[in-house]
Structures are given as C-alpha cells and as structure tokens.
C-alpha cells in the first residue's frame, strides 16, 4: 500500500526547483538583458564578472527541472515539450549563445562586440521564451489520450507575447537589483537609476496580465473572482514587495532591493500556482494523472532527500567564496 502521497511531495519538489531556477538564473539572464545598455565597456566586464563563476550552477536547476519532470510527471514532460517545440528550440539556442559568450568574450578584442550581442541576444531570447512558456501554461494544451495534438505555433498568442515581455521586465529587475548589491561606483549608480523605471514596467505588465488572465480561462476566473478568498493575500504581498523595492532604492540600501525583488517573484509565482492547482497540464490532467510509477518516485525521492541538502550547502559555499563587491579589472580565470 502506498504510504505517502508521493505525487504531492513531488509537486512541491518540482515547484521548489522551478522557483530556484527562476530566481538564480533570473538574475544572470537579467544581467545579460541589461548588457547593451551599460554605461561603458569596462562596466560590461564587471557585470559579466559578477555572474561568471555561478551561472553554470544556476542553469543546472533548469536541467534538474527537465529531468525531474521526466522522472516524476512524465506526462507533463512529454506533452509540454512537443507543444512548445519551436519555443524550446529558441530557448536552447539562446542559452547556447549566451553560455559560450562567457568563455569567448574575454578572449576577444576586435570581435568582442559580437560576443556582447551573443550574450545580450541569447539572454533576451531565453527570458522571453520562458515567459511565453508561463503564458502557454495558463492557456492550456490541446491533448487527446495524453498526447499533444495541437499545432506547432498554438502557443504563440498575444497573451503569451505579453507574458514573455513580463518575464523580460522581471528578469531585468532581478538583474539590476543584483548589480546594486554586487557593484559600486558609477555602475551601481546606473543600476539604482534604472531600477525604478523597470519596477514600473513590471507592475504595469503584471497588472495587464492579471486583468487578462480570467478571460483566457474560466477556471482561473472562478477561483479568483467568484468569492473573495484567502489567496488575495498573494497579490497584496506582491504589492508590498514592490513598495519595498521602491523604498529601499530611494534610501540607497544595497541588499534589500534584490531581496524584495525575489519576494515579488515568489509571491507572483505562488499566485500562478493557486490559479491552476492541481492541474499540471491544464485543462486535462492533474498532478495525480501525470505522475510516474510509485516506485520510481520513491526511488528518486530517497536519493534526493539525501543529496539536495549537500548540493545546497556547497552551492552556498561557492557564493560565499565569490562574495562581496566585484571591481573593475578583477581577473577572469
């Protein structure tokens, strides 16, 4: 007999992995999106150096998301990837270009501008594609018997374009507040300056998305608007985080803007989850329909409970090794 509801535990784990990814790769993608707008080439060097030692680890959370979905909820994996076929390709192409830019840019002289573009363009495409995935997820997928039957571009709608832009703005905000924390002088001043406009952009786009979403799907509308429930705490908290970002930037705090931006992401993310819970492939399948075999979920869970604390420990340790401000001219390799 099955002792625990493993599917539920796994939903929490995957949910945790996804938000870890969004927060961690979010700021380094954000740094990439802001790259072309930096005050000078030296500042670009510094910006890249703030993320160079950690970006690989950050992206590994995405790989865990993919592999974990396959292990725990194969139906999600094998429906969503075909449904987003073209989008996934763009995402991966973007990640390839920005990934190699880390290595090549510092070696380049006359062709350096190419790697600047490769880093910025790759980050922007990847961020947009991720936002579009969120939008596609809210829209739901066209399936028959557990198999995706829609077309190649069903995911690309005005709504998903908007969520893509929302993600771009959100990641830029994570990036700018990260730079406030990790840099000083002129570069930090610039990051302070762009944070408030970025915050406004994020709030505007999120507001439009929130108003639009109930029209995209009935279930979401009922959940939020049929009667006022406790879930309204989440948007309230989101606004509180936004206020905190604004206030801490005005007071020139260094760490708080980044922390508050993470808060903003977490509350928005939870809001998204409660809109769709417990559907993991809307509108058809719940997390229990999509789960893999009990013994497979158990086999992986045992290892995970043991290994993830170790992973978190040494990840935290590497952040500690590279703690503090990054200054212009501090070496690569």
């Amino acid at each position: 007999m099955e002792l625990f509801d493993l599917a539920l535990i796994w939903a929490f784990i995957i949910g945790f992995g996804v938000i870890m990814y969004v927060l961690m790769d979010g700021f380094d993608l954000g740094v990439g999106i802001l790259f072309p707008f930096a005050p000078s080439e030296t500042d670009r060097d510094t910006m890249m150096n703030t993320v160079a030692p950690v970006w690989d680890g950050n992206e590994t959370w995405l790989v865990l998301g993919g592999a974990g979905l396959l292990a725990a909820f194969p139906k999600v994996y094998s429906i969503i990837l075909p449904a987003l076929y073209i989008g996934v390709f763009l995402l991966l192409a973007g990640l390839i270009f920005r990934g190699v830019a880390f290595e090549f840019r510092f070696k380049a002289r006359t062709s350096r501008y190419l790697w600047n573009w490769s880093f910025a363009g790759g980050s922007t495409i990847a961020a947009f594609a991720q936002g579009a995935v969120v939008g596609a997820y809210i829209q739901g997928f066209n399936t028959v018997d557990g198999v995706y039957v829609g077309g190649a571009l069903d995911w690309l709608t005005p709504f998903t374009v908007l969520t893509g832009l929302g993600m771009l703005a959100g990641y830029s905000l994570l990036g700018s507040t990260w730079l406030i924390m990790k840099t000083e002088g002129r570069l930090q001043e610039w990051a302070y300056r762009i944070t408030t406009p970025l915050l406004i952009a994020v709030l505007v786009i999120f507001a439009i998305i929130s108003v639009w979403t109930p029209f995209v799907d009935d279930m979401v509308r009922e959940r939020w608007f049929d009667h006022i429930t406790v879930i309204w705490v989440l948007p309230a908290l989101t606004l509180l985080c936004a206020f905190q970002i604004w206030r801490s930037v005005r007071n020139r705090f260094e760490g708080m803007p980044f922390v508050a931006t993470m808060g903003l992401f977490i509350t928005t993310y939870l809001g998204l989850i409660v809109s769709r819970w417990p559907y993991v492939v809307p509108p058809e399948y719940t997390l229990w329909d999509a789960a893999s075999a009990y013994e497979s979920q158990l086999f992986l869970l045992l290892g995970l409970l043991f290994v993830i604390p170790i992973v978190l420990t040494y990840t935290a340790w590497t952040y500690w090794v590279f703690r503090g401000k990054v200054r212009a001219g501090e070496g690569y390799h």
């Binding site: 592999a67 990837l81 076929y85 073209i86 390839i96 039957v149 040494y314 090794v321 390799h333």
Partner: protein, 479 residues
C-alpha cells in the same frame, strides 16, 4: 516531396548527441589530468606543475563550456522529438537522468567556478579539492548516462505494462548486462582522448622548441599512461564484443559483415556490404579469424544477419565500416604507445621528429574513434530503440511534422556550426600562445587592478604574433 519526421529526428538526434559527445570525452580525460597536475603542484611545490595546470585549465574551460551548452540541449531532445519514448521509459530513465543532475552536474558546476576563478580566493588545498571534485563529477555523470544508454541496448529489470516500462529491480536495471563493459570502454576512451591530445600538443611545442622542460614532463606522463591504457582498451573492447554477441547477435553480425549464421567465419579486412542482395562484394579476409575472436575456437559458430527479417536488420555498411575505423585507430594507438616505450632510452621520444609529428596527427584520432564507436553501438541497435521492446517509429512524437523537425535540424546545424567554429578557433589560439603566457599568471595576485586584456589570449590572430617571441603580452616586461 513528403518530409519524414522520423528520419529527420534520427538525423537530428545523431547530430546533436555526436556533437555533445566530443566534448565530454575530452573533458573527462582532461579533468583528471588537471587534478593530477594540481596534486603534483601541491605536493612538490614545483611551479612547473602549476604552470601546466593553469594552461590546461584554460583549454578545459572552453571545452567544458561547449559540453555544458550542448548537454542542455540533449536533456530536452527526448521530450521534443521522442515524446512517446519519454512517456514509456520515464519510470526508469527519469530517475537516472535526475540522479545524474543532482549527483554530478551540480558538483561539476559548483566546483568548476572555484577551479576557474578561485585560484587566488581559496587556499591551495581547497583549489586542489575543487579540481578533484570536478574530475569526480565527470565520472559520476558518465556512470548514470551510460547506465541509461546501456539499458536501452540490454533492457532488464523492467516489465512492459500497457505500453509503459515499470521497474521491477533497480539493481538489475542499473547494472544491466552491457553496462560494465560500456562504462569501462568509455572511461578508457576518455583517458585515451585526454592523453593523445595532451601528448600531441606537447609534441608540437617540443618541435618548436617552446617550454621544453614542462612539455617533456607532460609528454612523458602521457606516454606512460597510454602504454598501459591503449592495450587495455583493446581487451575491454573484445570483452564488450563478446557480451554484445550474447545479447545483440544481429549487431555483431553487422559488425562482422556476416550474412549467414555459420562456422569457420573469416575476419573481413575489406568488403562492401550489399544490403539489397544480402551479401558482400569484394571480400578480403583472414580465414577463420572472426570465429576465433568471437568464440575462441577456430571453427566456432558466428551469428548472421539472416537470423532476423530484412526489415529488422540495421544498416550494415555504416556499422561494418565504423567498427573497422575504431579498431584500426585503436591498433594505431597501441603502436604509438609501444613506440614511445622503445624510444625511452636516452630521451629519443622527445627528440625524434617523425615521432613527434606522428603524435601531432594522433591527437585527433581518439575523437574519430569515439564517434565511430558510438555509430557502431547506436546504429547497430536500429530499428530498435529499446532493444527488442520498442522501435524507433513507435517512439516518435506524434504531433511532430516533417517541417518542424527540419526547421530545428537546420537550426541546430547552423547554431552548432557557428559556436563550434568559434570554439575551435579560440582553442587554437590558446594553444598557439601556449604556456609562456602562464609566467604572467604568477603575478596576478599582486596586481588585482591590472588591465584585464593583458592576461588574455586575444581572439584574433594579430600581426606580428606569427613569431613566437611576440606571443607574450606586450606589457610582460613591466614586472
């Protein structure tokens, strides 16, 4: 013309995974080499070791970076193009790939940051530890991924219920019959790759008289290792083949170009397999040798392709020739390793020009052998995906159209083409500038505000750098 999504997806998978595989084999070998160099530097305090290590770490950074980005593509390929396969095999493959992520990828990624950027931020011992952890990570990674792959060749410990594999025994599934052989063969292949590349590059520097002392050390180390590993690889390969004959006899028949099950089978050195007429043209072979190798009896019975229907045969020509390329190169490697031993006396191995030139050429052969080996293994499994249980056509994503598959195939070819050219170009630059640049590195900690560009290898070949003396950064005389 109708575009066939199955063929296109197969080409796409073969392309992206072959591309990916080039980097891991090199980085697995190189990671261990760097860990050894760091260990020697730590123990003896001789700056030569640190110089070598710092140099090869630079090469490693590029190779590893390309391995990571192409690997991320791999982990989504199953879902995008082979979603029915993902759905069916998730109960086993999902946990395998996830274990790879949590036990290997995180470890590599975290300690890679410290290895590349932390030389002056952490104590020497911790830096050594980071190098070791990266090397360990590469082995753990190969363990899981090769277990997953081997299971597709020799599935066991599972039961097929309603089109979905359910695991009945984890230990049988993970340690499936072909796994120990494939793992050993692949690890040794990685060391051979690292060994021949380092040997080839060191030989090239010796030919040009650059950094003679350090490069002699590196070359000598490599030759000792190759002397031991090249023959070992042949023995493991032989055992691997025997195991394959037991579990996938048709694949062995294709490797040998043997159409009918029979005794006294010759070892073919040359032939043109003709699948249409189910026979070979222009056979040249050594009588009875295939029987002897595969059964250890001169008149042993060797399985033939006629054991299965024509539609269930793999494409014989590719398997047959890829196998010959791999084994041929393996024998050549053994020859070079032995030559290295014979030339040991009075240091001829670092003086004889023909030998050094030969080693230069040898540095690309392991890559060719590895790709050829994978072609044998993977194409020899065709038309099966999970041997005897699920074929390729059943595995394909149902909603995939030929147009979509073609679009992404072209996309990957273009993206990889660009990235790969840039990567190779930059690697050549790193090699070209060479170890001399590392003298610079020792001063790094004293001068944190030194302009970045000086310590780095320029991407473009600039005028005046053709001459070795100019390869050092211009500000080198400053301290």
């Amino acid at each position: 013309m109708e575009l066939d999504p199955l063929i296109l997806s197969r080409i796409q998978f073969a392309f992206v995974v072959s591309f990916h595989a080039i980097f891991p084999v090199f980085s697995i070998g190189l990671a261990s080499f760097i860990a050894v160099l760091e260990g020697l530097a730590f123990k003896t305090g001789n700056p030569l070791w640190e110089k070598l290590s710092a140099f090869w770490t630079k090469v490693f950074a590029v190779v590893f970076g390309m391995g990571v980005v192409s690997g991320i593509v791999m982990s989504f390929q199953f879902g995008t193009n082979w979603s029915n396969f993902s759905q069916a095999s998730a109960n086993f493959l999902g946990p395998m790939l996830s274990y790879e992520v949590i036990t290997a990828f995180f470890l590599e990624a975290a300690f890679l940051g410290v290895l590349l950027f932390g030389r002056h931020k952490v104590p020497a011992g911790v830096h050594l530890f980071a190098a070791i952890m990266v090397a360990v990570g590469t082995f753990i990674s190969s363990f899981w991924i090769l277990s997953a792959n081997s299971w597709m060749h020799t599935p066991s410990g599972v039961e097929l219920r309603d089109g979905v594999f359910h695991v009945t025994s984890w230990s049988q599934a993970i340690f499936n019959p072909s796994f120990p052989y494939r793992f050993a063969h692949m690890v040794v292949a990685s060391f051979l790759t690292g060994g021949f590349v380092v040997a080839g590059v060191s030989a090239w520097y010796l030919l040009r008289g650059r950094e003679v002392e350090a490069n002699r050390k590196a070359l000598s180390m490599c030759l000792w290792m190759l002397l031991f590993l090249a023959p070992t690889q042949a023995v493991i390969g032989d055992l691997h083949g025997l195991n394959t004959m037991e579990h996938q006899p048709v694949k062995v028949a294709a490797m040998e170009g043997n159409w009918e099950t029979s005794r006294n089978v010759p070892l073919l050195l040359f032939a043109i397999p003709d699948q249409e007429n189910q026979t070979n043209r222009f056979e040249i072979g050594i009588p009875n040798l295939a029987s002897f190798i595969l059964t250890h009896e001169w008149d042993g019975e060797v399985p033939g392709l006629n054991e299965v229907a024509v539609e269930e045969q793999p494409p014989v020509g590719i398997v047959f020739w890829s196998f010959r390329v791999m084994v041929g190169l393996g024998l050549l490697m053994i020859a070079f390793a032995l030559a290295g031993l014979l030339l040991r006396r009075n240091g001829a191995y670092y003086q004889k020009r023909w030998f050094l030139q030969g080693l230069r050429f040898m540095s690309i052969t392991p890559f060719i052998a590895v790709i050829a080996g994978w072609f044998v293994t993977e194409i020899g499994r065709s038309p099966w995906l999970v041997y005897g249980m699920m074929n390729q056509a059943e595995a394909l994503t149902p909603s995939l159209t030929g147009g979509m598959a073609l679009f992404t195939l072209i996309g990957y070819v273009v993206v990889y083409g660009l990235v790969f050219s840039a990567g190779v170009y930059y690697l050549l630059r790193v090699l070209y500038v060479g170890l001399e640049d590392e003298d610079e590195g020792e001063h790094e900690s004293d001068r944190p505000a030194r302009p970045l560009s000086a310590a780095h290898v320029p991407f473009e070949i600039e005028h005046g750098q053709g001459d070795v003396n100019h390869a050092k950064p211009a500000n080198e005389g400053g301290h």
